[in-house]
Symmetry: C2
Subunit: 647 residues, 2 copies
């Protein structure tokens, strides 16, 4: 099972898109400078000078990860744009990291200055290896973007140090990190350097996870007082608590025996991403099988319609099948980003549109909702309903989400195309280009589209000489009736579709055009009958976008909105206050509050319904127009009993 595809890299692809380009530009002009200022203000840069002394505010054990993700995102920008100011800020940050690195390669401020004797004693909680992973990703990205080896060499020394500490050899620690990240980072480092030691270390970390005796139990037993958090779980037995804690870190069983996605959702996504990477690199069928099982359970039972993950705020993670509450959804921005990472890796192993569909679902909904229209503020959690008190924030004490969004969006062009022995694939619909080589011939695909507002896509091929190769074009699962033409001739999709991709295997010539038409009527999506928050309700979708209803548009709490049981006569509009977003308008009703002023419960019939036009906006754009309630799941089964009492 060789790894089938590699992404068309950032330097070989570009985005010139009405939808994405302004967001990416905003990242460069607004978001990254704001985040740099926050790193400065909050002392994250200063901490790297190692000047801390007892009595000062303590640096956090995972502050390096925030700096690293910012460098990674900035590097992706530098790969595309000459920006001397940004480059000098990156170089300055790398200088600080260089100064904080210890002679043996170790690089974590907290365990260097605050608790110098306690390195690697709290793998469960302290995030040392997590921070190392982000530093490594930053080092690889910085090198690829700028050609400079400054940070790459720092992180290689750190990785070498880690390889000396962890493993199954004599005197080595047989541990792994509570928060996965180092695993996928080491695969990236291996791919960038070719040093197999890094791949082996990643393999060790993944394989060792969940083996008995459980490392975190052993570590906990060494502590003066146990870290397992007894108080939080008032009624659980000790055994239940320990199990919960192991699951929180996906360390309850060896990874190949894990079936249900459990625990902290971001940790889970980073682990599964590494598992997919290693399944490919090590040609490991059992690991791929575990990935596919986890994928099926996740997307079939534990994923929000927005691609958000994590039902419990307390756990920041998964609970049980079909438990997907809307108002209290955690759906951390980083978890949706993690799902994009994992889906992309699965797609590189197996070209199935189901992977691309989920990647797209998470990207356009649960990821993008994390950032405000102006690029300055962020949601940590992304609920599917709100009573109106939700605001994005500029920064957080645990500030993982803002720079994570930045590094995803600034590297987005590398998610659009991939290539392998079996040709080229187009996974996402974003205007721009992707370039690759077929048997010595340079081929460029230029894509033009108004996606996600419109489903027409034109792919133009440019090449020095004719070339024969399969071009695979994703047919999104949300689209009932796609059509595709090559140079104006319609293709019979039924005969060329494999795993949801139209595979156009032919001789291509310079100037060939593929046009794809993806009609995107508004539809009403229903959830599995055991999803309580969606029972008797439906969500409006149009194309890849989940829509929501905001109080600002309908004048009442969206809880009062009742849609018909089917969408038969939707119209669309354009909202300039939402950056030209396409809105959806459907006829429906709202429940009247008349008669309920002082009543909480009544047995004389349900609320009276009044006819109303219901305007819905893309979910990712909610909470950009002041306060007000919001809701994705809307009552959709019109009640005959209620309808007969309508005003």
């Amino acid at each position: 099972m060789p790894m089938r595809h590699v992404p068309v890299s950032l330097t070989r692809s570009s985005i010139e898109d009405h939808f994405w380009s302004p967001k990416i530009q905003q990242m460069r002009e607004v978001t990254l400078p704001v985040q740099h200022a926050m790193l400065q203000e909050t002392g994250r840069f200063d901490a790297l000078r190692l000047q801390w002394k007892p009595g000062d505010d303590q640096p956090h054990p995972f502050w390096e990860s925030d700096v690293a993700k910012w460098i990674e995102a900035a590097s992706y920008v530098l790969a595309k744009h000459h920006d001397p100011d940004l480059e000098s800020k990156v170089d300055a940050a790398i200088d600080l990291l260089a100064g904080a690195q210890q002679p043996d390669g170790y690089l974590n401020v907290f365990f260097t200055v605050v608790k110098p004797g306690e390195r690697w004693t709290d793998l469960l909680d302290a995030h040392e290896l997590y921070g190392a992973g982000h530093l490594i990703e930053a080092g690889v990205a910085h090198h690829a973007a700028t050609g400079k080896r400054t940070l790459l060499e720092i992180v290689m020394r750190y990785a070498d140090h880690i390889a000396s500490v962890f493993g199954r050899g004599p005197g080595q620690k047989r541990g792994y990190c509570g928060h996965e990240e180092i695993e996928l980072a080491l695969v990236r480092l291996y791919r960038a350097t070719g040093v197999s030691r890094y791949l082996e270390l990643a393999t060790y970390f993944v394989d060792e996870r969940g083996q008995q005796p459980f490392y975190f139990d052993l570590e906990d037993a060494e502590r003066p007082s146990p870290s397992y958090f007894a108080d939080e779980w008032r009624f659980a037995t000790r055994a239940e608590e320990v199990q919960l804690f192991r699951e929180y870190n996906q360390a309850h069983a060896p990874v190949r025996e894990q079936a249900d996605p459990v625990g902290h959702a971001v940790r889970a996504m980073y682990l599964y991403s590494a598992m997919a990477d290693l399944a490919g690199e090590n040609d490991d069928a059992s690991l791929l099988e575990a990935c596919e099982r986890l994928w099926s359970r996740l997307t079939g039972r534990r994923m929000y319609v927005t691609g958000g993950l994590g039902s419990s705020a307390l756990l920041e993670g998964f609970t049980e099948d079909y438990d997907l509450p809307d108002e209290t959804a955690y759906a951390e921005t980083c978890a949706a980003i993690g799902l994009v990472f994992w889906a992309h890796r699965m797609l590189m192993l197996r070209r199935k549109s189901s992977y691309g569909d989920i990647l797209e679902r998470a990207l356009y909904n649960g990821v993008l909702s994390g950032i405000s229209l102006d690029g300055r503020s962020f949601f940590y959690d992304n609920p599917l309903a709100s009573k109106g008190a939700a605001h994005r924030h500029e920064w957080f004490g645990v500030a993982c989400c803002p720079p994570n969004l930045a590094r995803l969006l600034t590297s987005l062009s590398s998610y659009v195309y991939s290539h392998g022995d079996d040709g080229v694939a187009v996974h996402l619909y974003v205007s721009g280009t992707g370039a690759f080589e077929v048997g010595g011939t340079e081929v460029t695909i230029r894509q033009e589209t108004s996606y996600p507002w419109d489903g027409s896509v034109k792919l133009s091929l440019a090449m020095g000489a004719p070339a024969e190769f399969p071009l695979a074009v994703r047919l999104p699962g949300w689209c009932d009736r796609p059509s595709l033409s090559v140079n104006g001739h319609e293709v019979d999709l039924a005969s060329v579709t494999v795993d949801g991709y139209a595979v156009l295997d032919r001789a291509w010539n310079d100037g060939d055009e593929v046009t794809l038409d993806l009609p995107m009527p508004a539809v009403l999506v229903r959830a599995h009958p055991l999803v309580s928050a969606a029972s008797g309700r439906g969500a409006l979708m149009r194309g890849p976008l989940v829509y929501c209803v905001e109080q600002v548009d309908v004048g009442v709490d969206p809880l009062q909105v009742v849609l018909a049981s089917e969408v038969t006569s939707a119209t669309t509009g354009v909202d300039e206050s939402l950056g030209g977003a396409v809105t959806v308008c459907v006829p429906g009703h709202t429940t009247s509050l008349v008669g309920w002023e002082d009543e909480l419960y009544r047995s004389d019939g349900g609320p009276v319904l009044e006819e109303a036009e219901i305007v819905a906006v893309p979910y990712h754009l909610w909470a950009n127009r002041g306060d007000g309630a919001m809701r994705v799941w809307l009552r959709s089964a019109s009640s005959t009993g209620e309808a007969s009492r309508s005003a």
Copy 2:
């Protein structure tokens, strides 16, 4: 505004009832002995010997309250039953309390042996005054039940000590307890002893609460590290945290300025109970006004249909108007008990059926659900829906609910009748007797009923001589068409009903009979349109009982149940496995899971509906027949779109 009514006391009333007597007998025979054993096992009695030394497990600062509530409940039993074994256990516990009391009257083990220098330094959290309050209630109850002054004198000494420490005098602490309880206890102690100092201290505690500067802020500033729990509220500002914390203890504003019920629900109920007591005792119209405003906001916006209170488990309390989630409802048993306490006190001030209705709603639903059929195990929280993993427990680390239930049920007869200058009132329908005096004539009311399974009630009057007085009979708000006869002659209710009570003002003779008929068809109750968990759903009620659907009866998750929009053809049954409870059966549908095996979201229509008989059981009896999902709010608006696809 004199206090209008006093309860017909425990010693002047009796219960001989098919529904309640077995429960009260079980309290005596099972629950109290089991709880005594738990107090023993968990070290709560032993702690009172003051033998603790560093290194031992620490007694909890509020362990006295558990012992006290058990003594209080046991005393109510002793008021009715000669039980030498129970009496000797009570006496032994009181001996232990006597031995633990300090020379100055102070009585709290934790601050005597574990942190002897820190008395009254953590009013916010340490529950010292709360424990004192429960000791006082126990002392009053024990004295009233047995005539013994042993515990009463202990608690008077303690109360005298507290009165010396707290107040507005020089050198006194101007504080109050984070968890209210001492206030209502001091009113009881005043009523039992006539010592006005106790009433004045209760008045001080209630009036001082929420005055500026905020006492808890001052106390927090004295601590080495602040107690306000910054970590729990990740995204709140410091100012928001402090406000949340003040509200948690109802200390955000002077009590007369409080409008919305906020914070910890049990604390709120105990405070409002004391406010009602003081409104009566001090003839304080502004306090009564505050009570009425809080009552209206609570019952009109923040109360579960079961009488449960508290939407947030984290806060153990209130959130915002209409936020009443079902699966995550906290609805602590003690909060529903507290609502009974408050409602009863309001009823003594103002004879309005709305107070009696809420008392009844909480008692028959949110309170009774707290205890298992066998009397051995307890719910701390009482959600209105469950996926099936809910179990009652024998005991809790914080064990407030089990003995609280015991003291309420063993004193229930004192909630049935009351009397005052304006005659006698019958508030609850429970077979048994109530005795009182009218102008020197002894009158006894004997009540016979099969309530809550049937709404026929017979009241027989026995008296030595004829007497003229008003007899007020509550007409429950749930009943549309009550009828009432005196000696077989139907009374025109419209002409005699005042504030929901039928007031029968006439000369009564020995042998007179009042018969009340309260038809109780099953009805579908709807919630305010802004209650998300109930939107498009309804709850079955019959008489005072809220019903629920359990998986064990319908064979599917109750989430799949869809009722018609009205209940037109309900039948009833009797379930012997639930102690002869009346069940309700209505025609309805269930959604099919066919076609959803691997699907979480679909846009091709909602689930297919299949016809089904839906059996519902009283909510308070849920989770007595093994595992399985449960739900109070059931989809009730039949969807035309779905119905047309039914199998």
